[in-house]
Every structure is written in structure tokens, then in C-alpha cells.
Symmetry: C5
Subunit: 88 residues, 5 copies
């Protein structure tokens, strides 16, 4: 998983059927110091995250498991809202 920050969302009318009603967030990847690292990605929301939240997200097949329809072709999902990053 990687750390990220919710920076917005993506709205789409013309899309594959299994994405109907699914909330898509724009996620800015972060490094361990919570600085931006790379380009934003588009991810499903599994934890009711909002703009400004620090989260961790997943990519690859595992991401589709957080949706009710497990055959959904999802490849990125927000898994948790982060309370603290303890960097030692």
C-alpha cells in the first residue's frame, strides 16, 4: 500500500456498467514525510474518505476485493484513513 492524500474527485457519465454509483477519488501519492510523490491516480473509495484526508491505497488486483461485486474491474482503492504516521 502507499500513502496518499485525497485531492478531489472524478465525475463520469459514459463508463462501464459496473462502475455505476461508485465514488471515484483523485489521490495524490505521498512519501513518508507526507510530501507529494508522483502523479495523482483515480481510486475507489472503500472508507468514506474526504478531500484533505491522509489515506493509504492499493493498486493491482487486490483493490477489486473491497467492492461488493468482486468481478468489478477495479485496480485502485482507498483502504483506510490514516490517524498517525509514526516515522522513527
Amino acid at each position: 500500500m502507499k500513502l496518499g492524500k485525497i485531492i478531489g474527485n472524478v465525475v463520469s457519465t459514459q463508463k462501464i456498467k459496473s462502475f455505476d454509483g461508485v465514488k471515484l477519488l483523485l489521490v495524490q501519492p505521498l512519501d513518508e514525510n507526507l510530501n507529494s510523490a508522483g502523479d495523482a491516480i483515480v481510486a475507489f473509495d472503500a472508507v468514506q474518505a474526504g478531500v484533505g484526508d491522509i489515506i493509504y491505497y492499493e493498486t493491482s488486483r487486490e483493490a477489486s476485493r473491497v467492492l461488493e461485486t468482486t468481478m468489478n474491474p477495479c485496480d485502485a482503492a482507498v483502504m483506510a484513513i490514516v490517524d498517525h504516521v509514526n516515522l522513527k
Copy 2:
């Protein structure tokens, strides 16, 4: 998923059988400000996207699920045409 823009298409006669009749688009990856980010990829079209459209696409195994033949060895697909990117 990642944001992208349709910038063309790829024509191929000699190909694996399961790709017959499938439309292949050339997709320029974009960052959250819709600036180019990295090299173009070749992706299946699941939503009738056209040149100039802002879209989001997927890579990895999930992409093959948007095709009728789920055993199709597809590793990139355009999933939706984007109406708005709300960057906050």
C-alpha cells in the same frame, strides 16, 4: 486507474486471434492538471472513446474483464470518459 487522453489509434493485421475486431486506442497518460505524464500506451476501448477525449484507464489483469471473452489477454482498457476532474 489513471487519467489519460485519447491521442490516436493503432492498426494491426498480424495479431493474436482473440484481438480480431477489437479497437485499440493510443492513450497519453495525464497528471491531475491534465498535463502529459509519461509515454503513451495502447489500450482497449470499452466506452466508445474518441480522439481528444479525457478518460481514465486501467492496466493489469482487471482490464481483461471489460471484454466479452474474459480469457482475452488484455492488460489495458479505457473504462470511462471523464466529464469533470474536481481538483480541490
Copy 3:
């Protein structure tokens, strides 16, 4: 697998259900000379690793196999604590 070093951990209350009770480590990727290489990732702990330990970790689907619930959407796990890296 890649070499890494445990540099901290991530605490999260609001998360997907299958992550309850799972310890999440912050891992700094390392090169073969044990210098930092890239941004830290968040990984499950399969070997009771602690801060400062040199480890190797996995990403992609394989990582989920180290958890008891194999359907867990985990995409990164610490697999072993490294005793020696023999560079010849």
C-alpha cells in the same frame, strides 16, 4: 522481492474490516548497498519485524498469501528479516 528497512508504522481507525488487528509497517526501499531507493511503502508484517530491521518485502497479489484470510486485499508484505546481504 526487494530489500527494505523498517522506518516506522501507520495507525488507522477507519479502515476496511479485514484490516482490523493487522500491523502495518512503514518500509523504506533499499538498493543492494542498503542505501535508500525511492519512497516508503506501507506493508503488512508477517515476521514480527521492528524499527531498524533490514528486511525483504513483496508487492502484488502474492503478498496477500501471508495473511490468514487469503481473500484479504493486501498488496505488500514483509516476508523475512535479513541476516546478511552477500554482495560479490
Copy 4:
């Protein structure tokens, strides 16, 4: 999928059994203007491609589906020879 060019091949005697008799090509990744982009990879040939051909190839699990033995641990394959890249 990504665009590439066949720039050579790889010969190997000592290899895993399921790779016996399989032709392995050296593929130079290309960008949308057909300029080199990154380091060459080693890929299976599913379409009788030859040196100098512009092709597109796949990586990840999907690649193994082009081989007769679907359990073959192949992670890169040439899927088609490209006739035209229409960049608009």
C-alpha cells in the same frame, strides 16, 4: 499494451522446462513517436515477429495466455505487429 521494436533475441540452454522451444525476443519499448523509451525487455513471440518490426507487447499475467500451456510462467509477450500508428 505498449509499443516496441524487435531489436534481437536471447539464447538460453539452462532454463526452466516449460520454456523449451519457445522463441524469446529482445524488445525495445517505444513512445508514441516511435522513439526509444526505457530499457529492453525479453518477451515471448506470439505472432512470428522479426528484427525491425514495430509491435505492441504485454506484460503481467495476461501474457501467459498466448502460450499453449497456460500455466507457463511467462510475463511478457509480443501480441501483434503494428501496421500503422495514427497519432492525431
Copy 5:
């Protein structure tokens, strides 16, 4: 697959159970001219490779298929020792 060179090995006592008795090599990725390209990775050995050997290796799920226990969470494996790289 990618070209690489065996540059050492990794020794580990505290590890996940399914890795007991498995030889882990340190692999330096190479480009098509056999120059170093990126950071070393840790890979299983499926072909009795030794330090100094030019090889090609795989990452992703396919790598686990070269082990006897196919459910082994392995994500990188050396598949063959390379005799010649014919670059044309």
C-alpha cells in the same frame, strides 16, 4: 522478463515458513547492452544460477509457478541462464 546479473545472495533466518530451504539471489537488472539498469532485486533461483551469470528473471505472480509449492508467495524468480544476447 528482464535481463539481469547475479551479484550475490541474501541470508535470512526469521522468515515466512514457505521460504525455508529456498535459495534467494541478489539480481542486478541490466539493459540490452548488459549495463546496470536500476536497483537490485531479490529473486528465487529456478536454474542453479551462480554469481556472475547473466540471466533473465520474472516478477509478478508468474514467478511463483517455478516453485514446487505453487501457493508460495514468491514474486520474483530467475528463469534461465543466458548464453547469448543477439542485439541487431
